[in-house]
Every structure is written in C-alpha cells, then in structure tokens.
Subunit: 203 residues, 2 copies
DNA sequence: CCTACCGATCGGTAGG
DNA sequence: CCTACCGATCGGTAGG
C-alpha cells in the first residue's frame, strides 16, 4: 500500500516538474514555439518519455490555465464570504491576486497570455472562468458604490483598471527586487482606492 | 519616371498589406504559430511569392515593432518639447499613446507582446527603444514632482502604473465599443492623476 | 524510460 | 507571381 502510494505521488511529482519546466519555456518563447524535445531536454529525459506523463502538449496548457484560474476564483470567493467592508474586500482580493501571480510567474504568464492556444471545448470553459473572476471583482466595486464608500464610477472601466494593474506585474516583477508581493499589492491598492474612494470632505 | 515611382509605391502598398494581414494573424495565434502559407492565403497569393516582398518571416516582426516603437517615441518627444506643465504633458502623452495603440490594435499587440521573438541584434535595439520610452514617461512624472504638482511617489511604480493602464487596453478594446480612444485616454488620465496629484487642500 | 520512426508541416529556394 | 521542391523540425506512436 505504502509502496503504491509512493509510486503514484512520485509520478505526480514528475508531472509537476514537467509542467513547471514547460511553463518556464513557454514564458520565454511562447506556447507554439516551445518544442517537446526542448522540454524533454530541460527535464532530463527523451522526448517520447514525456508521453508517459502527459497525454499531449496541450495538457500542459490545460493544467496550468485551469489550476491557476480556479485558485484565483476560490481566493476571490473566500474574500466575498469573509469580509464585509468593500475597501477591505478589494484590498484583500488584490493582495491574494498579487501573491498567487508572483508565487509562480511562469504559470501566471501562461494563464494571462497563452490560454488562447487552448482548443475547444477547453477554450470556452476557460473564458467562462475568466469572466466569472472579472465579475467577482466588479461586484466588489459595485458593493463599494452601494455602501457609499466608493464614488460612482464606470464599473467596467474601474474593473479593467484593477485587472490591468495586477496583471501587468508579470511584465516587470523580479523576485530579487526590493518590493515584496505584499508591498506591491498595498501600493496598487492605495493607487486604485485613491481613484475610487469618495472624497472624505463630502461625507 | 512616373512609371517607376508608381511601381515602387504599388510594391510598397503590397508589402504593407502583407504586414497588416500578418499582424492580424499574429494577434490571433502568436508569431511562432503563424504560418507563411496561412499568411499567403490571407493575402491571396502563394507562399513563395511572399518572398518577393519580404526577406524573411522575421522582417514582419522587425517592421512592426520598430515602426510602432519609433512612432510612440517621436510622439513622446514632441510632447516634451511643446508643453510646459507636467499635467498637460502627461495627459497629452497618454492621449497620444492610446490613439496610436487603438489605431492599429494588431500592430500594437505585436509591439507589446511578440517583440521577444526578435533575434539579435534587433532584440537589443528594440529593448533600448522601449527603455527610452519608459524613461520619457518617468521624466514627466519626475518633472511633476519638481513642479510640486504631483506628490512624491515611487517613480518606478508610477511609471509602471501608467504603462500598465495604457497597454492593457489591447486586451479589451473593441472599436465598436461606446468609448472613443480620446475618451478612454481622458479616463485613464483622470484615474492616474488622481493617484499622483498633490491634494489641493495643502497648497 | 528508451530507440526507431511516422506523416505533416515548417520557412525558404530554384528556376522560370 | 507560380510550380516544384528542399532539409529541418514538429507532435506523437510502436514496440520493447
């Protein structure tokens, strides 16, 4: 029993290694340009051996896009369940998003930019997941308006501003840099909230 | 004489048609995934005939990245020459950027995301061009601080926020939408300036 | 996990 | 601008 479980989990570990190496290569040169031979070399095996762990090249894309998408969505739903105040919700949601994205930059890159290489029906499923996440962010902004904390804004525009700020991070974030993910999240939150918060003088 | 000029400019037009069709295909599926046969079909000729207009596939990437990069940089330098006030400079720079990017979304996509497929020495040249542009935006923010119009901020962070807002547009902008590029630019400027402007009460 | 190998497709050239 | 074609490389399979 113990033996079998070990084998299963070792196999799982190897698969995760392959996917993580793949994401790094995809971040460097894009999904289409990443070759399975190149990936095999990075892993330290021959190309056909990859197919003992994967059904196809696209499985890598699927795994990464949906794992990260679900992770982000669950974190967002938790925020909506736990917190009451819209500002607190938004700050926590932004912090979660930044932490998830900076935790694995390569995976984040694949999630943000390479999902379009998914084929149907995964492509449509993925778009739904994304839309749901965007809707969750929009709901927070909407709640802030209703609470009278945020001024009335173009909901769509505010949501896009938030997503652009948190997703653009992957274009410049370096783990060796001086700012921690939490500090980055705080700065982004301050910046966004300054644009959203109703001026205190009028309350 | 007239004849020769006509031939040259017709040839130039065809090349531009090819590059524009190519950018649309690259936006859809990425540079590496775009095939020269697919491109030829979109243009209405056979694949080998493309090479009467292009030296190589990469020439498409080169043309688009550097044409757009120079266009953006020239617009930014003009702003710095003409205007005095930092707020005016920033608003105009953002408006120019948004107008250039929305004018040809496919080209903008290639410029923003696909430049990494350039090979040396073009790759290094391109990075220099980008850095120069980023430095130009940062200078405006810096000028605003010195003028006492903007509060002191993390320069790097403010610059990245501006670039993230204006570049994220290509992920959602649809020409059929209700907002014009100028309106989008205005909203972004308002949003950014709200985060940057020194509170009037303390002046 | 490997060796041997498949058909398909890639960017690009020769020659007209 | 076309037909005919090149070597290289692609994702993936058979069989052990």
């Amino acid at each position: 029993m113990h033996n079998k479980l070990t084998v299963v989990s070792m196999s799982q570990e190897k698969k995760e290694l392959i996917i993580s190496k793949a994401n790094a290569l995809i971040q460097k040169s894009g999904y289409a340009a990443m070759g399975m031979r190149e990936l095999a070399k990075a892993v330290g095996i021959e190309a056909p051996s990859l197919y003992n762990h994967l059904q196809s090249k696209e499985e890598i894309l699927n795994q990464t896009c949906f794992t990260l998408g679900r992770k982000l969505l669950i974190a967002l739903e938790e925020v909506n369940d736990i917190y009451f105040d819209a500002e607190q919700k938004l700050r926590t949601a932004i912090r979660n998003h930044v932490e998830i994205i900076t935790h694995d930059l390569s995976a984040a890159y694949v999630f943000i930019h390479e999902w379009k290489h998914l084929s149907e029906p995964s492509l449509s499923e993925f778009k739904q997941l994304r839309d749901k996440y965007e809707a969750g962010i929009r709901e927070i902004v909407e709640a802030g308006e209703k609470e009278g904390i945020f001024k009335e804004t173009d909901l769509k525009f505010a949501t896009l501003s938030i997503l652009s700020a948190v997703n653009w991070i992957i274009e410049w974030y370096k783990p060796e840099g001086t700012m921690t993910p939490i500090q980055i999240a705080e700065k982004i939150s301050d910046f966004i909230l300054q644009g959203l918060t109703r001026d205190k003088r009028f309350n």
